[in-house]
Amino acid sequence: MENFTPVSALIGGGLIGFAALLLLLLLGRIAGISGIVSQLFSKQANWFSQNIWRVLFVIGLVLGPIVAVNLFDVLAPQAPTGNSVTLIIAGLLVGFGAVYGSGCTSGHGVCGISRLSKRSIVATCVFMATAMLTVWLTR
């Protein structure tokens, strides 16, 4: 465990939780990234007024690392490793699974568990298990 970084993990996690708290108390919304992103694909009336917060959330999400890297001494986002075929398959599985399963690490793992949703607790256990199994099989 030579790479264990407890302080930055707690601070970073706390900020993620704080973003979820603000979004909940101010807009009444769940900070689930797969939900926020996939909702942008919906055709609906008043698309702009309904989705402006989602569009700006995504823009903020992309700007976040730039702010973090320039203000604090933190590592910039790193590129994934693996060949293109693996990354395409991984991307398809992540995108499909997160939307088909109604949430990902943020929606189920953080927002769902923190309100003790039975579905989210089960979902998080399932994706943690298959992710760990996948790493065990491929590494």
């Binding site: 603000l22 909940l24 959330f57 903020g60 990354l87 991984a90 398809l92 399963g101 760990m132 590494r139």
Partner: protein, 142 residues
């Protein structure tokens, strides 16, 4: 554009920014670190337990406060799911998501945030992820 639309935009930008800063500080945007967390029998890095723990504690405080409010500060109602039914799509989707997460070490939030320092490999992953999301959306409607 009315004032509630503008307010929702300001909240969206602020919370997205905080989320992205948090992901970067926590190094969720470093796929190797995420894979080290998932590698429980190998070079296990427990940091992500604390990322999730820290996020859960603060977010849970949000739900505690929410239960004392009749409506959100800048919106008419809380939009929080209350479905408790464990159905097949939940299990199949989550299992599938986990396999992809274990292959690349990227989940949707960090993948999108990392576009700020995009590599070709990351863009390939994100485009595939968006395609996967579209397929799931179409299937769920069918």
């Amino acid at each position: 554009m009315n004032s509630s639309t503008i307010k929702s935009g300001v909240v969206g930008l602020t919370t997205g920014l905080l989320f992205g800063i948090g992901l970067t500080i926590a190094q969720m945007t470093n796929p190797k670190k995420v894979l080290d967390f998932l590698d429980i029998t190998g070079s296990w890095d427990a940091s992500l337990v604390l990322v999730m723990g820290g996020a859960l504690m603060v977010s849970a405080l949000g739900y505690f406060v929410k239960n004392k409010m009749s409506q959100p500060v800048c919106a008419d109602a809380f939009t929080v799911p209350n479905n408790q039914f464990l159905d097949k799509p939940l299990i199949i989707g989550s299992a599938t998501f986990g396999i992809g997460w274990g292959l690349a070490g990227l989940c949707p939030g960090p993948a999108i945030a990392s576009l700020s320092y995009a590599s070709v490999d990351l863009v390939v992953f994100v485009v595939a992820m968006l395609a996967g999301m579209l397929v799931a959306k179409v299937l769920k409607k069918a």
